[in-house]
Amino acid sequence: MVALTTFSIIVVWPSTPSRYLPGDFWPAGRGIKIGNWERETMRLGLDLRGGAYLVLEADPPPDYQGDIDQALESAKQVVERRVNAFGVSEAEITRASGNRLSVQVPGISLTEAQDLIGKTAALEFMVYDDQYNLVPATGVVNGQTLQMTGAYLKNNTYPSRLGTTFAVNFETTGVGAQLMEQITTRALQYPPGDPRRLLVVMLDGQVLSEAEVQAVIRDAGQITGQPTFSAASTLSKQLNSGALPIPLRTVQASEVSATLGEDSVLASVKAGLVGMAAVMIFMVLYYRLPGVLASAALVVYTSVVLMIFKLVPVTLTLSGIAAFVLSVGMAVDANVLIFERLKEELRRGRTLNAAIDIGFRRAWLSIRDSNVSTLITCVILYWFGDQFGAALVKGFALTLAIGVLVSMFSAITVTRTFLKMILGTPMAKSAFLFNASERPAQERPRRRMAEAAGE
């Protein structure tokens, strides 16, 4: 038993975030210096840090032929690329049901987000004219002057090695082949080294690459001069997802200002601390010594859960905080269940050691069944939230599920270890400290009593 206890302590303590407890997280997390806390430890949801949330739905024209699913997947990449290019960190773009994309961009307003996503993303081929100005690379197809753009590339480009540098290989569509032939033929008139021989690829008005035309390009070509493989690979990806492959329509949008988010964080942290203090005071007054142990277990519980939130990381939203508070309640409930059983067993005159074992064994079934039913609810909530990319609901479900799982662990392992730790001390002998002195065993149906006595 001692070995088991020692082992439990070993298991419990490293999982306690000792590296967070005294250091960066705990003192700052008291709601005094939120800025610091937010950056270093918790990943906060939009409602807590401000930002824009959009649900975009594929809005294909009536004559749309392509595969919507695939188009949406590349639309997702396009949106991702644009958001990342904008320098927004921790943006989340996910597929949602019904041909939708859910986009969360922290720290910017809705108008900015829509600007960002709706921005023209044209891939253009450019050349230098005789005055060495950059002009669109055009050709004439069926009597029409057309600019060579990403629309005339097949989206199956791939990067490859080319001597010491890297290149992106592309194939053109029918019209693209004619355009490229005319453009490259024209460029080849000029001697190597002449800027007019260069073919410039631009994305959203920014130069992606500049390469000298080596030969006439028709069905397939290469964009050379990429310094690294990853540069070539990125370019290839960008080419494959040059423009939004399918029109997107905003079906749901919301925005939270950063100040509102900050207010919520401050209020929630304060409320959480007050709530926890109230719970601890109650536990100590009602359960005495075990209440003190449960309060200690609660501290361990809270730090383990917060550590998991940080390490996974779980994006913490307002409803997630509510879920966390609820899970604290459930963690305490597990302890309450155990202590009530413990008290009963003590009043029946068992030794503390035996009472702990029996109390835990009896309490476990109800802890398990009640928590599993909560977990079931969590799974269903998560699925529900997932259908819409509703971060609020998903965050709630995930937070509650983690909380419930850790609470099962904490009740069984941590509280038990603490209880066993005081076994050898004089405290263990005091019925007062366990609030188990007043009454003898409670009345139970007679047969039950007889059996309990014979156990």
């Binding site: 809705l110 921005k119 509102l260 109230a278 069944d369 039913s373 149906p445």
Partner: protein
């Protein structure tokens, strides 16, 4: 040992009153659906320069072409405005160019001209197609949760006779709690303009989870007693279980209520409704595990309804015999 089961009709009658009242509130007023369920837009705005009255803001919205706008005060010179779906969301086509300014920006400018500096704190818009889907999935989620819980309890209590009764009683209790909370929201919606949104669904599901959590703890005691000694009268086993779990039920609820009240008093405005659902739901959930789930179980075991029915039939026959 307290005699719960003997007074079961008092307990059931007590919650029956609330249940019927909640159903009536739902039938009369119905829930006030938020934009997630009907489509539309809402925004929260705080006026920084001078106090603006609700009537002034409503007038301004009318002038800006939104006579349908609903204005609700929300703290310090701050209002939540709800309108029909705003044209803020143009199609983001491949070659669309910069997004044209949305209607929300026009409104913001219009309000600024009238009332001076202001801050738009949040904005949300939902189109009709999405809202219908959310409503459908929300219903599905609640039904699925109830079904899954029923099946789980059935399995967890399978060594008992008629285990599915336990599941059914837990589900009856959770429906009871959900209806009471929804009824409260029908009342709040009518008198204080509180709307039902996805957060509300989350809260209802949490209440369901908590209600079942509580019910299972009681049922677990009954299970323990019945498996150890199947010859104890069922009523007695239920009474003993309820007596033994009473302290725990009250303590746990008290702990959760303490935290929720703390959040309600200090926490942000935004989750107030959410917390209110939780608070009422948890109180209802605690009561229902004692006063509904367990009592229905006893009534079922004793075939109370059948007996009741026979009694009525008997009286009818007696009356018929007398009449004849």
């Amino acid at each position: 040992m307290l005699d719960f089961a003997g007074k079961r009709w008092w307990y059931l009658g007590f919650s029956g009153v609330f249940f019927v009242a909640a159903l009536a509130a739902l039938a009369i007023w119905g829930l006030k659906p938020g934009i997630e369920f009907t489509s539309g837009s809402t925004f929260t705005v705080q006026f920084l320069e001078r106090p603006v009255s609700q009537a002034e803001l409503r007038q301004a919205m009318r002038e800006l072409g939104h006579p349908e706008a609903r204005v609700q005060a929300s703290g310090d010179n701050t209002y939540i405005v709800r309108t029909s779906e705003l044209e803020n969301a143009p199609s983001l086509t491949a070659g669309a160019g910069p997004v044209p300014p949305g209607e929300i920006d026009d409104i913001e400018r219009g309000l600024q001209e009238r009332f001076g500096a202001l801050q738009r704190k949040d904005f949300a818009t939902v189109s009709g197609a999405v809202s219908a889907e959310i409503a459908r999935y929300a219903t599905l989620a609640v039904i699925a949760a109830a079904a899954a819980i029923l099946v789980y309890i059935w399995l967890a209590f399978r060594q008992l006779p008629k285990p599915w009764r336990y599941g059914a009683c837990a589900v009856i209790a959770l429906v009871h709690d959900a209806v009471i909370v929804m009824g409260l929201f029908a009342i709040l919606g009518e008198f204080r303009g509180v709307e039902v949104d996805t957060a509300f669904i989350t809260a209802i599901l949490t209440v369901i989870g908590f209600s079942v959590h509580d019910t299972i703890v009681v049922f677990d005691r009954i299970r323990e007693m019945v498996t150890h000694d199947p010859y104890v009268p069922f009523e007695e086993a239920v009474n003993a279980s309820l007596t033994e779990t009473l302290a725990r039920s009250i303590n746990t609820s008290l702990v959760v209520v303490l935290t929720i009240v703390a959040m309600l008093l200090i926490g942000g405005e935004t989750i107030r409704n959410f917390l209110l659902v939780l608070l009422v739901g948890i109180v209802a959930g605690t009561y229902s595990s004692i006063g509904v789930a367990s009592q229905v179980l006893v009534a079922w075991e004793n075939r109370d309804l059948a007996r009741f029915w026979r009694k009525i039939r008997g009286q009818q026959e007696l009356a018929a015999a007398e009449a004849a």
